[in-house]
């Protein structure tokens, strides 16, 4: 029993779980009874996309990479979905196109990082221009809408709970399957130390390529969910997402140096970020200071999570 508690505390996501619970309690004190069914369905629908994307990014981070192109890529996915939908294609075709675009975008990042050995930060920095640029090229201003059926399904299926949950479950299952395979172990190994992995006959390049492509797949799913939630096309829809998702991963206990962390933990980080936004929107009356308050709480979250996990590590030693 004692060992089990120890393992639980050592879990990289423990700090973020504490942070999340703390924030829930504070919220409960500030505005009692806000955790009702309506809040939860709305919250799930709005935050499922970023939770899925966070899982995707965390895989890249665990393998020791970095991806700041996800905002641009998701904008592109959204734009392509809506453009296809306006041309009269069905939901299936559009969703497949989303996933395909995501995978191809991830593949481009992966090839540059693994085959051409460019620093991940700079690669994805350049590709974020490319993806965002194509999105703006196809759709210069927000327009269009998705099929009515999709909107009704996403916001209404199973009292509004089920559709977002299905998306999140798909993402988690995909990651858990990968984690159980050899590839999952390799991802952690490469993130810990790519040179040592290389001499231990781990195909480092293939692992990096896989992690970016897998992340791209999840961006595709997340982008589809985001489009279903918003119901419209906007070439700048996800540009602010990059930072939120990276912060969510860090809060979720994933080190940017790689090799440590659990994608499931990053879900807590993403939930925390989502809660921060809704809380600020409801409790800060001066609308001009809302984004300041959001930024400040997020900063405190990042600092708190990093300090807390450092403290736990020191305490154990």
């Amino acid at each position: 029993m004692k060992d089990r508690i120890k393992v639980f505390i050592q879990w990289p996501a423990f700090a973020s779980l504490v942070l999340l619970l703390l924030f829930l309690v504070i919220n409960q004190i500030l505005s009692p009874g806000y955790l009702n069914a309506g809040f939860i369905t709305g919250f799930l629908a709005a935050n499922a996309p970023s939770i899925i994307v966070t899982i995707g990014l965390s895989v890249v981070l665990i393998s020791g990479g970095m991806d700041i192109s996800l905002g641009g890529l998701i904008c592109l996915i959204n734009v392509i979905y809506v453009t296809l939908a306006m041309k009269g294609f069905g939901i299936g075709v559009c969703a497949a196109a989303c996933v395909l675009v995501g995978v191809l975008g991830g593949l481009l990042n992966g090839i540059c990082v693994s085959v051409f050995r460019v620093t991940p930060l700079l690669t994805t920095f350049a590709t974020s221009y490319i993806f965002g640029g194509i999105a703006l090229w196809i759709m210069p201003s927000p327009t269009g809408s998705v099929q009515m059926d999709l909107l009704i399904w996403y916001l209404g299926f199973g009292k509004g709970y089920l559709a977002p949950i299905i998306f999140i479950v798909i993402a988690i299952v995909l990651w858990l399957v990968v984690k159980r395979t050899k590839m999952g172990i390799w991802i952690y190994a490469v993130g810990q130390n790519s040179e040592k992995s290389y001499v231990s006959a781990v195909p480092v390049n293939r692992v990096k390529l896989f992690s970016y492509t897998f992340a791209g797949l999840l961006y595709g799913i997340g982008g589809f969910a985001l489009t279903a939630y918003c119901g419209a096309g906007d070439p700048l829809i996800a540009q602010s997402m990059t930072m939120k998702v990276i912060a969510a991963c860090v809060i979720g206990g994933i080190l940017l140096n790689g090799g440590i962390g659990d994608s499931v933990g990053s879900i807590f980080g993403a939930t925390f970020m989502g809660l921060v936004i809704t809380t600020v929107l409801s409790s800060v009356n001066n609308s001009f200071f809302q984004s300041f308050a959001q930024g400040l709480i997020m900063l405190i979250g990042v600092v708190g999570s990093v300090v807390l996990s450092g403290f736990i590590k020191k305490f154990q030693e």
Binding site: I130, W137, M243, F288, Q290, L299
Partner: protein
């Protein structure tokens, strides 16, 4: 000794010389862009137009000094809060100065100090709390933008001091006042980097943190200083920006975060730190604005412009920012 000197003269020597090797791609691209721009759009290479481009590039040149300091300090240092800081200064600066030239002096001092303090907070969190540089500065940029929005209430009202507006006017021949101001700042910062203890220590800290610590350098202080200087420069660039544009828009400086990273990278500064010079960054800034103005002159929509910028950046990164092979 004599042989060494002989080897390093002439064009072949110049290509081999480590000191200038990093500048050659930017200079070649610049010449190609100017000639190409003039072919595609006659009159592009006129002195007036080039000076105009130079004026816009000089804002970026000042902004990218800070980025260069942070990147040279190493450890994957990057400052993503430069754009937000520029927006803050550009929008609040004229309000502080109350539109008078005397007020401008106050505003410059206030914002340089403010920039240094915010940057130092970045540096302190990165150095002592071990928060990754990218995350810390990104989060800080959200806080700064939020502050800007809160203070201006979404509708910046301002009268810009005359002295600031005059920066956009031709002073020396066709050369804008802004270019001269930027040149002075760049020269001061180059001297600061090359001749002072701080500057030289920064290179050592960037190339090897442990060695620097063992050599008795105060690594923490130097890194915090680099982040402080970064936002201090961003504050100056923000004031120049509002003087050049002449009116206020929310988030007007935000794009400079990405532009500063791009120009520094084009200029040959590596994310691993310890290498590179400010001149490289300045040349990179000129390359970026030449490219942008050619695309604007050709009437490309903004999406295509962004796409082409991304492709060019990817090409440059592919050429000069590759990591070592795993198989040694």
């Amino acid at each position: 000794m004599n042989e060494n000197i002989a080897k390093n003269t002439g064009i072949a020597g110049l290509l081999k010389n480590e000191k200038y090797k990093d500048f050659i791609p930017s200079i070649v691209i610049m010449i190609v862009l100017i000639i190409g721009g003039n072919l595609l759009n006659p009159g592009f290479a006129s002195i007036n137009n080039l000076c105009n481009i130079l004026a816009r590039a000089s804002i970026l040149a000042v902004a990218c000094i800070g980025q260069a300091f942070v990147m040279i300090s190493g450890n994957a240092g990057i400052d993503m809060s430069i754009g937000a800081m520029m927006s803050l200064t550009a929008l609040i600066g004229p309000m502080v100065s109350k539109g008078t030239n005397e007020g401008l002096v106050v505003a410059i001092i206030v914002f340089m100090v403010l920039g240094f303090v915010i940057g130092a907070i970045n540096g302190l969190c990165i150095q002592f709390l071990k928060i990754p540089s990218l995350v810390m500065t990104l989060a800080m940029s959200v806080v700064i933008s939020g502050l800007t929005l809160g203070l201006t209430r979404g509708q910046p009202i301002m009268t810009i001091p005359k002295a600031l507006l005059n920066l956009g006017m031709p002073v020396l021949g066709r050369i804008r006042g802004m270019t001269i101001v930027a040149a002075v700042i760049v020269v001061i910062m180059i001297l600061f980097l090359k001749k002072t203890n701080f500057g030289r220590s920064l290179y050592i800290v960037g190339s090897n943190r442990n060695a620097a610590k063992l050599a008795g350098l105060r690594v923490n202080l130097i890194v915090v200083g680099a982040y402080g200087i970064s936002l201090m420069m961003a504050a100056l660039a923000g004031l120049m920006l509002v003087g050049y544009v002449g009116s206020a828009q929310l988030n007007m400086g935000d794009e400079y975060t990405l532009l500063s990273v791009a120009s520094v990278v084009i200029g040959g500064i590596k994310l691993t730190g310890g290498k590179g010079s400010l001149i490289g960054g300045v040349l990179g800034a000129m390359v970026l604005f030449l490219l942008t103005s050619i695309l604007v002159a050709l009437g490309m929509p903004s999406g295509v412009r962004q796409l082409i910028q991304g492709v060019v950046l990817l090409m440059i990164v592919l050429a000069n920012s590759r990591e070592a092979k795993l198989r040694a």
